[in-house]
């Protein structure tokens, strides 16, 4: 990778043909050498774990970002991709981190690490700009967006208030904010997530940076918005002749935007090269595994491949003949025939929230309107929709964590929504929920043992605590955790392991229906595959029925027999999953499906 700057042939962005030359490297005035826009050489970053020990999280990473190019840095959490980008921006915490003395960070041939703090700061925002994952938390909620963009212009471009405002308007127009004249005085909370991210982008490009670092800019956004933002970034890059360092975990997205790809794992670069080559002819076993373990729209294997199918524990590739069977696994068929036993029959379910509007009046917000479906025993019903579609409210209302406004949910002929709390207690055992965020859904002050024993104690399962402990141990083994986990606290586990603990907690009650509310959305791709495999195994073994709520259409396609599409609280389409993905009837479904990144396929 170190010789990328002299690599030929060069990928020429289409738009540049008018210019006639796309110089990916430039000649340094002082030394006369060719240099790329950004050179990262042997970058090593350590973090302080306690008073004396330092842990290296980035272990000698080298890559170049040429001029006018999008480079994607791909990896799962803990791969060091964000840390590398923060090192470039000079945003690492001073007290608890350090960059190895042998590391080289050069921007346009200038040594970034030799600069003073003040010089670095003047460069940040002006030459190198960054956009972050969460636009909601990256914007200051008490200032209007106009003020916040204007601040950048006043600091770096020495504009006065009037000039800054004019320029801000232009920028807002450029990033595609509707009616920028009124939106310039809006507060971040008055905008949608997509608009907020556009504002962040406007702020980042305000000073015409040469390098834009985008750290997971679309991860928090809906799939249709994601497409718009990615298109916007690409359009701006071409128009402004800047380079983009695009950090993401999503390989499919990389295929849509990147010219070059760097795949990282555990602080080391596993593979790098041109996007087409890395995505279609991956050389490294880890890249291959990453590409395989993400459910795709056109196949549905019996079991999703996981990283450990391709890699040994030490990170080396497994021999070729072992992985052959995994690459072409048998396919699973899904869908309902119509004679399945129905376990849950939801009729005209509605849920409204009331907001206080003025002194006496209330405003009704209909989160779920008139939704009806039937869940077949031992099958999975996928519920998809974008944020605000009411899919999570639907799940929580069925669990009675929200009070339903109208409608029925018949479980063995009994309406569980009309029961008293005491009557419902008996049904709580049989209908359980797994939440999205495995970090938030386990009480941090409980050991795993306490977490697993509590539901059994509450429902009187098992004769005594000894018997319950035994059951809990068996369940831990069933979900693939060591029994030693019993004595640990949740924070000692990774996200995937925590989600397994949450699944084990549900299983202690031996439920018949499991509501999975975005249960794999917060997990890394490889962990996601493991948890999906586990859920599938449990369904095969215990005949569980799943309500699988997700915004991720590929995951739903993989796991669900039937799919229900929701938009703004209304049911848009309900069909067998193969049917729905092949022939979407409703325009909204068609729009959703077309927005899925298809970079890899």
């Amino acid at each position: 990778m170190s010789d990328l700057d002299v690599m030929t042939p060069i990928v020429i962005p289409e738009d540049d043909s008018a210019q006639g030359e796309a110089r990916l490297s430039r000649i340094n005035d002082a030394t006369g050498e060719l240099h790329p826009l950004l050179r990262v050489q042997n970058l090593r970053v350590s973090f302080r774990s306690d008073k004396t020990t330092w842990v290296q999280t980035v272990k000698g990473v080298s890559f170049d970002i040429p001029y006018n190019t999008t480079v994607a840095l791909v990896g799962e959490s803990g791969s060091g991709k964000s840390v590398s980008s923060l090192a470039v921006m000079g945003l690492l915490p001073e007290q608890t981190s350090r960059i190895d003395a042998a590391s080289v960070l050069e921007f346009e041939g200038k040594d970034l690490l030799a600069m003073s703090m003040h010089e670095r700061r003047m460069m940040c925002g002006k030459d190198i700009a960054m956009i972050f994952q969460e636009p909601m938390t990256s914007l200051n909620p008490v200032f209007t967006v106009g003020t916040q963009i204007g601040e950048v212009l006043r600091i770096h471009m020495n504009m006065n208030a009037k000039q800054a405002r004019e320029r801000t308007l232009e920028l807002l127009k450029e990033v595609g904010i509707p009616s920028p004249e009124t939106k310039i005085d809006a507060y971040p909370s008055q905008m949608s997530g997509g608009q907020q991210q556009r504002v962040m982008i406007a702020m980042a490009i305000a000073c015409e940076p040469k390098l834009l670092i985008a750290d997971e800019p679309t991860t928090a956004l809906d799939v249709t918005i994601q497409k718009q933002i990615v298109d916007l970034i690409e359009a701006l890059r071409v128009k402004r002749r800047m380079s983009v360092l695009f950090i993401t975990h999503d390989l499919a997205l990389v295929g849509e935007i990147a010219d070059q790809v760097v795949v990282m794992r555990h602080g080391v670069i596993r593979e790098d090269g041109f996007a087409d080559q890395v995505l279609h002819y991956p050389q490294d076993a880890y890249t291959q595994a990453l590409l395989r373990c993400r459910p795709s729209l056109d196949s549905r294997p019996m079991r999703l491949p996981v990283i450990s199918d391709f890699l040994n524990a030490d990170g080396t590739a497994k021999p070729h003949d072992e992985t052959q069977g995994i690459i072409r696994p048998p396919e699973r068929t899904r869908g309902l025939t119509g004679d399945e036993k129905i376990i849950l029959d939801v009729r005209n379910l509605s849920k409204s929230f009331y907001l206080r509007d003025g002194f006496f009046s209330k405003k009704e917000f209909k989160a779920v309107q008139d939704v009806s479906f039937k869940l077949a025993k031992g099958k999975t019903l996928g519920i998809v929709g974008e944020s605000g579609s009411g899919k999570s409210t639907l799940g929580l209302t069925l669990m009675r964590l929200h009070q339903a406004t109208a409608g029925q949910a018949l479980f063995e002929g009994q309406d569980i929504l009309a029961m008293s709390n005491q009557e419902f207690m008996a049904y709580k055992r049989r209908i359980q929920i797994i939440f999205q965020n495995p970090y938030a859904s386990l009480n941090p002050r409980f050991t795993v043992g306490q977490i697993l024993l509590e539901p059994m104690q509450l429902h009187g399962i098992g004769r005594n605590d000894e018997r319950r402990t035994e059951l809990a141990m068996q369940l831990l083994e069933r979900v693939g955790l060591p029994t030693a986990a019993f004595y640990r606290y949740p924070h000692e586990f990774s996200g995937g392991q925590r989600q397994r603990i949450a699944i084990a907690r549900c299983l202690t009650l031996q439920p018949e229906i499991l509501i999975c509310d975005e249960s794999v959305s917060a997990l890394d791709v490889s962990v996601q595959a493991q948890v999906l495999n586990l859920l599938q195994d449990l369904q095969d073994e215990f005949g569980l029925s799943y309500l699988f709520i997700s915004h991720d259409l590929s995951v739903v396609k993989y796991i669900a027999d039937q799919v229900l599409v929701m938009n703004h609280g209304v049911m848009v389409e309900l069909a067998n999953s193969d049917e729905l993905y092949r022939h979407p009837q409703h325009p909204y479904t068609q729009k959703l499906l077309s927005a899925i990144p298809k970079g890899v396929h």
Binding site: S441, R445, E454, P455, D465, E470, Y487, Y489
Partner: protein, 356 residues
């Protein structure tokens, strides 16, 4: 796995579950923390001192005038001659005969008897009264060290018990208010607003007037009944934040009751707020006891406390007698510092996420 063969194993498991409980782990983490152990030792030493003094093992004779008035600490040495001469002159003035204009004093014989009797004992006493004491003496010649030890009884009891009570009260109300919300929250908030709108001293006077008796118990009640407001507000905010967290929803989903969610699930996660409040409150209440004593709602005259010592020190400082104030302040500062360091360390130790 047969039941028989697994029983001993599972027994062993249960045993180790118990030994791995939150408190056992917290204790292990505390023990590794040197500052925590030191501050704990100081707090425990104060408590032992309190117990010994309450049972009369030490500082039983704190009320005896063992030194001369305002006897300075030994390190400084006895007072200058002028003062001694002045006090002798004052003593001599007392014996100046009074002119009775020829009338015989009917009580003269009795008085002489009393005087000789008194002289006997006072001779004994003046012989014992020392010119210096290890940490000086107060206005009546009482040993400051003994007085401070005796004073700790009132102050620590008032500080700790009142702080504990007010934190419990604030936590309970805050938990109910934040967790249930709705009209319960509204009602409690109204109560809180009314409560805080009354000037603090007036409130204290009102509670004192209702209780109608002096003593440690009423000070504790006055302070805890008026001091819960801050804790209430903080705990309420924490509960509002936590009740929507997924782990509480998950507890709801498995069928945990309201009480269980409030105190078994949420409370350990917000306990740090209560602990920090508690350590702040102990300091405040020891000081408040001074104000109460000053207003006449504090401890009765015959009882000593650090607060009343500081109250006396006000006038002594002008005369240059700093030792009483010094003793009370040092004792208070050491206890309060040790106590806050300890609660801080306890907070960290109770949080399993922080590594020791």
């Amino acid at each position: 796995m047969s039941t028989l063969s697994t029983t001993p194993a599972s027994l062993a498991h249960t045993a180790s579950v118990r030994s791995h409980s939150l408190w056992a782990l917290a204790w292990r983490r505390l023990r590794a923390d040197r500052v925590a152990m030191l501050s704990l030792a100081v707090v425990v030493a104060f408590l032992i001192m309190l117990l010994l003094s309450a049972t009369g093992v030490i500082a039983k004779h704190w009320n005896d005038d063992v030194g001369v008035n305002y006897a300075p600490p030994t390190l400084i040495g006895p007072d200058t001659e002028d003062d001694v001469a002045a006090s002798q002159a004052a003593a001599a003035k007392d014996t100046t005969p009074i002119d009775y204009y020829g009338v015989t004093d009917p009580l003269a014989a009795d008085m002489t008897a009393i005087h000789t009797e008194l002289a006997k004992s006072s001779v004994e006493k003046t012989r014992v009264r020392q010119t210096t004491l290890p940490f000086g003496a107060d206005k009546w010649g009482r040993d400051i060290i003994q007085k401070t030890i005796k004073g700790s009884e009132t102050s620590i009891t008032v500080g700790l018990v009142a702080a504990l009570l007010s934190v419990i009260l604030g936590t309970l109300l805050g938990a109910v208010s934040g967790y249930f919300g709705g009209w319960i929250d509204d009602a409690l908030n109204w109560f809180y607003s009314i409560f805080t709108s009354i000037p603090y001293l007036l409130l204290i006077l009102a509670v004192a007037a209702v209780l109608q008796q002096k003593g440690i118990l009423s000070i504790v009640l006055i302070l805890s009944l008026t001091g819960w407001t801050g804790t209430y507000r903080l705990i309420r905010a924490e509960y509002m934040k936590h009740k929507a967290r997924e782990y509480v929803l998950a507890a709801d989903a498995i069928g945990a009751s309201h009480m269980r969610k409030m105190f078994v699930h949420i409370f350990p996660n917000v306990s740090h707020v209560a602990l920090v409040q508690m350590s702040l409150m102990v300091v405040n209440f020891i000081k408040s006891e001074v104000i109460l004593s000053f207003l006449g709602f504090g401890v009765p005259i015959g009882v000593v406390s650090w607060g009343s010592m500081l109250n006396e020190a006000k006038n002594e400082l002008i005369l240059g007698h700093w030792w009483q104030m010094m003793a009370a302040s040092v004792a208070m500062a050491v206890l309060v510092t040790a106590f806050s360091l300890f609660t801080d360390a306890l907070r960290d130790a109770l949080d399993p996420k922080l590594k020791s």
